[in-house]
């Protein structure tokens, strides 16, 4: 029965063209979060494989979940594939199946040529031994014969920049040095398929540049890449194709730029309430008030219509409505914006006072607008801290006004939206004299 099942699958897997170095076909993998049960299932799997019983790997046992489900793609010689997705999306699992470390539970993987995993920087490094000895051990583990290691030894040391420490034990190295040595060993294997898992962040800036150069060189020589990274920039720089994994499923496969855009938008928008874009605060009584109370916050377009989510590159006016009990002169609107995706960076700090705009607030229900002709922020979720002040006196503070910026103009590979216009100017019909 099994042979009948296997046969068509193998024929199906034959790649259509000879350049395919990696074909992943309907691969699934299940895991179990409970350690005790997971170990027991492991023993169970070993036992059924040993006696040759089918282990029904396509069915979930109690407590298991699909870490990967029906993932298929192909990679050709010299192509670079990025894997993006949140933590736990199954990226590393996929890499480990491709490198043959663990067996898929369904489907199959075809690999042609030598696979070098950059998951394993410094695998087999023994801290007591010297850098020299460790280079030999590490590169042997990665599958290089001794005479090849001898031939590449100098290049590795040169690349890792550890000439003077090569005969010192690795435990005396700084973490950066050890990481550089590990990276240098791995990229000098010259594999057919290179699997990279979150390791491009080793070393200082100079070394990073060198790593990228080396990767580019390998790619020119025909090495195919699979790169896992949380940093969209390194994926964009290295990969032409990308896969977007989410909870073990392949959501999208295609050109890196569009995949990254989709990933970033999902990353930012997930978890935010379906906001109307307006934040309304309860009005305060005379006793509670300090003189100026913020009553509502929102974005508006240039026609004064409410914007549920401002779009990158489009006009957006931040509207702050207040109850002003007594007229205030020379008020200052303070707006501090933090990006909620990524590393909680403060992205903007704008105050009317630093723009030398002194706001005079008449008494009554007043709206203050900060008019932005272009929304410069990238798509994402942000939090604004908004306060109304006068000198050092603070009237009212809203700690967090959450808003979402939609994708408008294309800002991939940009940190912010730069308004611009393009033009050609002919200075004369004649060429500039030589």
């Amino acid at each position: 029965m099994t042979t009948i099942r296997t046969q068509p699958r193998n024929t199906m897997m034959q790649p259509n063209d000879r350049d395919v170095v990696l074909a992943v076909n309907q691969v699934s993998k299940k895991f179990c979060r409970d350690l005790r049960r997971s170990l027991f299932y492991g023993v169970q799997d070993i036992a059924s494989d040993l006696v040759g019983v089918r282990r029904h790997s396509e069915k979930l046992r109690s407590g298991e979940f699909w870490a990967l489900k029906d993932v298929s793609f192909q990679l050709r010689r010299g192509e670079a594939l990025g894997l993006v997705g949140a933590n736990g999306a199954g990226k590393s699992t996929l890499l480990r199946i491709i490198s043959g470390l663990i067996k898929p539970d369904t489907g199959s993987v075809m690999v042609e040529g030598r696979v070098a995993p950059l998951i394993a920087l410094g695998a087999g490094f023994n801290p007591i031994l010297t850098g020299r000895e460790n280079i030999y051990a590490n590169m042997s583990i990665l599958g290089l014969p001794t005479r090849e290691i001898k031939r590449r030894f100098d290049d590795v040391v040169e690349f890792a920049e550890i000439w003077d420490a090569i005969d010192a034990p690795v435990q005396s190295y700084s973490s950066g040095m050890a990481a550089r040595l590990g990276f240098a060993c791995a990229v000098h294997i010259e594999p057919d398929v290179l699997l990279i898992d979150e390791v491009l962040a080793v070393g200082d800036v100079k070394f990073k540049v060198k790593c990228h150069q080396r990767l580019g060189q390998l790619r020119k020589n025909g090495t195919a890449f699979v790169l896992v990274s949380h940093n969209p920039h390194s994926v964009l720089n290295v990969c032409n194709l990308s896969i977007y994994l989410s909870k073990g499923r392949l959501l999208a496969f295609g050109e890196t730029e569009s995949i990254i855009r989709q990933y970033e938008e999902d990353l930012c928008l997930s978890g935010t309430e379906a906001a109307t874009g307006r934040m309304t605060l309860p009005a305060k009584s005379a006793a509670e008030s300090t003189g100026v109370d913020i009553t509502s916050l929102c974005f508006k377009d240039e026609h004064g219509e409410l914007l549920a989510a401002p779009a990158t590159g489009e006009p957006a006016y931040l509207s702050v409505e207040c109850n002003v009990w007594e007229p205030v002169e020379a008020a200052n609107l303070n707006c501090q914006i933090t990006a909620l995706s990524g590393e909680y960076d403060k992205v903007l700090y704008l105050t009317s006072a630093s723009d030398n705009e002194l706001l005079d607030l008449p008494s009554g229900h007043v709206e203050i607008q900060m008019q932005m002709p272009y929304m410069g922020l990238k798509p994402g979720v942000y939090s604004a801290r908004i306060s109304v002040r006068q000198g050092v006196r603070s009237y009212d503070i809203v700690e967090s006004f959450r808003f979402t910026v939609r994708a408008g103009k294309n800002v991939s590979r940009c940190l912010f939206y730069q308004p611009r216009a393009w033009k050609t100017i002919r200075h004369s019909a004649a060429l500039k004299p030589y």
Binding site: N10, P104, S108, P117, G124, I141
Partner: protein, 281 residues
């Protein structure tokens, strides 16, 4: 042109010929790596040790001292031995130590190499081979002690001594077999290494290391059915008396060892991906 590899969920046993081919290929491919790992382990071991080589000598000497003193004090009575009792104990202990190293080797190797195993797909045979090599290296050092022993006690050596490598190799292989069989489980459960330590204590007790082979009673039966007994006894007899009392048992155990080693190897290959899946990262 590097080979094309397929990874599928099927058991390797479904394609026995491919399995055999892969085993052969990996064994060949792992020679160099095994050598490299062995050198790495041995040099790390001696570099981080003050007493260094002394550790190969100390346990047999201490053991012999203890048992000789106990024997002289009539705490227990040992039967007559072919060679002086202290030499008997030291020789026996050195061999027993080699056997326990062979058992512990694979279990330790797999446990220690977990991070490496979880990240790089190298021929897994290499770490076992490296440990076997280390066992032989350590034995070579103990050999200095044994040779010194024979000279000091002026023990006559028979010509059959040149055959001793055969039972020695079988002794190490038997240990490797047991260790390799346990190693995948040992990577999953700590019980294995703990249980192994207690088991080896008991096993030493029913192996004629510090006493000559008993012939009577339940104890005699236990010792007789202990697979280590014929290997150890034959080795000792080849070196000192050249009269083999357990030739038949020796060959039975040896053949079982070779067959068992092959089956263990298959089981090890089948088990490793599942172990790696459960322990990794």
């Amino acid at each position: 042109m590097p080979p094309r590899v397929y990874y599928t969920p099927e058991s390797y046993l479904k394609q026995p010929f491919k399995l055999l081919r892969d085993m052969g290929r990996d064994l060949l491919a792992s020679r160099e790596l095994a050598w490299r790992l062995m050198i790495r382990d041995i040099s790390a071991q001696y570099r981080q040790s003050f007493l260094g080589l002394t550790w190969a000598f100390l346990p047999p000497i201490l053991m012999a001292a203890g048992f000789t003193l106990a024997g002289q004090a009539q705490v227990f009575s040992v039967g007559a031995t072919d060679i002086p009792y202290p030499a008997y104990v030291m020789f026996g202990t050195s061999l027993w130590q080699t056997f326990t190293e062979a058992i512990n080797g694979p279990v330790q190797a797999v446990t220690q190499a977990k991070p490496m195993l979880a990240r790089v797909n190298f021929p897994r045979e290499a770490i076992i081979l490296a440990k076997v090599g280390e066992v032989f290296f350590n034995f070579a050092i103990k050999l200095i002690l044994i040779v010194g022993l024979f000279i000091y006690f002026q023990i006559p050596v028979q010509w059959t001594v040149i055959l001793t490598p055969v039972p020695l190799i079988h002794l190490v292989l038997l240990g490797t077999l047991a260790g390799t069989l346990l190693s995948p489980l040992g990577a999953l459960y700590q019980d294995v290494s703990k249980g192994l330590a207690s088991l080896l204590g008991l096993w030493l007790f029913i192996t004629p290391v510090v006493y000559p082979v008993p012939t009577e009673g339940l104890f005699g039966l236990l010792v007789r059915f202990n697979p280590v007994t014929p290997l150890l006894v034959t080795l000792r007899e080849l070196a000192t008396s050249s009269v083999l009392t357990q030739a038949q048992e020796f060959w039975i155990v040896s053949i079982l060892t070779w067959v068992g080693l092959f089956l263990t190897w298959v089981a090890f290959r089948i088990a490793m991906p599942y172990v790696i899946e459960r322990v990794s990262s």
